[in-house]
Symmetry: C2
Subunit: 389 residues, 2 copies
């Protein structure tokens, strides 16, 4: 397994402590990153309902999923066979039967239904229909939304987690080098992306890569005005920019990085914006230390960039780490005004003050760890506009 | 855009016809494949709430999403600027504000709230919390679950859609050749996966590849008893099998394919099972024709395989085509007993009768189109157990 039995035991203990504090007796965990965090479960099976059940009354979590994934649960988790439940394929993508019917049945069977049940209500993998079924099937349950219970726990990384994120950082440096090497006028975008993916997976000699939670994003030309476009099979064109927002992952722990490259002689507005963004990133990083708030990091960025004409409405970063598609963010802390979350050693962020104008944009980002007295970059890399003459 | 204006207009018209038939006045579309199908919208932004609104009273759909994705909507859809609405980042990953608060506001502003509203209740990207917010904010709305309204429309492909799936089929053949070429004892699994991804994206000289909705799945050794495991950085080992379940995609239209490879001299049980599965696949394909039911295809498979000792409880295939992570399946028809959906020309399926035993397994699959008088394979490829001596 990816972590020691002791580390999994500690995660479970801390989860139960929080459950007690919040008056939750049974926790239903649908988020694949939270499932992995608690039990090690790992497989691309989250496209059907599956969950971990943590109950104060039970020493061990339960795994409930689809029949064909049962061996996957045995292979990747420490969960005892007696606590693994699998539903028949009859429940899969059916008009009248839903896997939550089965889940309700197991909860009743284990006498966990007449309880205060905490749920991850904003999880991608727990649908509105699933909740309706569960509510109908468990009339005695008292449901409470605890969306950030485990993802909050995840925000401070253990030494082993940080080690994996540093390994992802080493892979990320290689990935960005490969990407910058292959983005050239005349090269098809899809061919460059092929090289990017290859570098993400090959990793280093010591560490192979895993699939990041988001595909490579590389808007080009006018598309650089928008962050989330992917690629086409058209060739790159001279006198256009390309924004690369990529990540590397190690056991689903991420290190993202964004850089901007211009093919030709860049317009002054882009050169200037890149310099201001780089200065803003530096100012934000210098403000990082235990005790600082998320909004203070944003304020440090703003104090340097706003006077020079770069004003950004959206957040400039977010906590990240362990995750599965569709997002590597943890959905907890954001670097923005109003977020008074306090930084602690071991927290990890993606600082990405993307600037998107009407028909152009620039991104230069850093992934960092909060240390005892400041920050550590996960993947040091030149913080500038790259130019292909 | 990927399709002609006429094709998008036809999709919208057919959607509205179904809405009328089902008594739905306003349809909220959260599924990224459905959003793409209706408007062309394409971007990796589905990790935050976003949707298309189709109203009988409105000639054009509305796009509602996050502020930083507004330019992406302008770039990739035909939706008029006056029908594009973007919410501020203040709503993103916040404890008390939710993007659905904004969506409700727009629906009220456009006077679409006092209506019978159809919702995709089992979509990954419409959460239980999102539904709670919507219900609270729109007390006059009458909500109905119409999970399969648009995905049902999507099941019969147009000539242009089939063309993209055939292109994906051509890419898929190359991908599988590359995969089989790189799976060798001593090669790290992650390195082989790097080559697979590279081939998926490079595609052919004429057609570049897009990201498939699922990462390469390649369980090895004991892991072949489970379908959804991915890779490690360990090298492949002699006298072990590896199951490859991969896909190629073109504009998010898929052609999946599974094959099994053995490194060494394969055990008789695996050789036998592979032959029976291949025969069962052939029998199932021969049963494919317009008018046949999904369950009849499964029965044809079973009639050939069960007498020879291969019994499979889970479905042997499903409709597929256009999709985004986490699944390339359409979640409509399944090839299994009880599914009496009738095959029509232009429907596309992944026939994948995976066999997973206690500590081994085998997969040999085919992606096919239902034609006027039978079937067409999207990616013809030797249907056998591959052996690396």
């Amino acid at each position: 397994m990816t972590f020691s039995p002791l580390e999994y035991a500690d995660r479970l203990l801390r989860t139960k402590t929080l459950m007690k504090a919040q008056g939750i007796e049974v926790l239903l965990v649908f988020d694949p990153a939270n499932m992995n965090y608690l039990t090690g479960y790992d497989g691309w099976s989250f496209y059907v309902p599956q969950l971990i059940v943590v109950a104060l009354a039970e020493p061990e979590p339960l795994w409930i999923g689809r029949g064909i994934d049962l061996n996957g649960a045995r292979e990747t988790t420490y969960v005892d066979d007696g606590n693994i439940y699998a539903y028949s394929d009859r429940y899969v993508h059916h008009d009248h039967r839903h896997p939550m019917d089965f889940v309700a049945h197991i909860l009743r069977e284990r006498e966990l239904d007449n309880a205060r049940i905490g749920l991850d209500m904003d999880s991608y993998y727990f649908s509105a229909r699933g909740f309706e079924v569960l509510r109908r099937q468990l009339p005695h349950a008292n449901f409470t939304d605890v969306t950030r219970l485990i993802s909050g726990l995840r925000s401070i990384k253990s030494p082993q987690e940080l080690e994996y994120m540093r390994q992802a950082g080493q892979i990320m440096q290689r990935v960005m080098k490969v990407a910058l090497g292959h983005i050239e006028p005349g090269i098809r975008q899809c061919d460059a992306v092929g090289e990017i993916y290859r570098a993400q997976m090959r990793g280093t000699q010591a560490y192979g890569g895993d699939y990041p939670a988001i595909a490579p994003m590389l808007p080009t030309g006018r598309g650089t005005s928008s962050p989330h476009l992917t690629w086409t099979d058209k060739p790159f064109v001279r006198d256009e920019a390309c924004i690369l927002e990529l990540a590397a992952a190690r056991y689903h722990y991420h290190c993202p990085m964004a850089r901007t490259v211009y093919m030709g002689s860049p317009p002054k507005r882009l050169v200037d914006a890149a310099m201001i963004v780089a200065d803003g990133v530096q100012a934000a990083l210098e403000a990082v230390k235990p005790g600082a708030t998320c909004e203070a990091i944003e304020a440090a960025w703003r104090s340097v960039t706003a006077p020079r004409g770069i004003v950004k409405e959206s957040r400039i970063g977010y906590s990240m780490g362990l995750n599965y598609p569709p997002d590597w963010g943890e959905h907890t802390m954001s670097l923005r005004p109003g977020d008074r979350s306090v930084l602690e050693p071991g927290m990890t962020f993606h600082l990405i003050p993307g600037i998107w104008m009407d028909d152009w944009g620039v991104e230069i980002s850093e992934s960092f760890v909060v240390t005892a007295d400041g920050h550590e970059l996960l993947a040091p890399f030149p913080r500038k506009l790259f130019i292909k003459p």
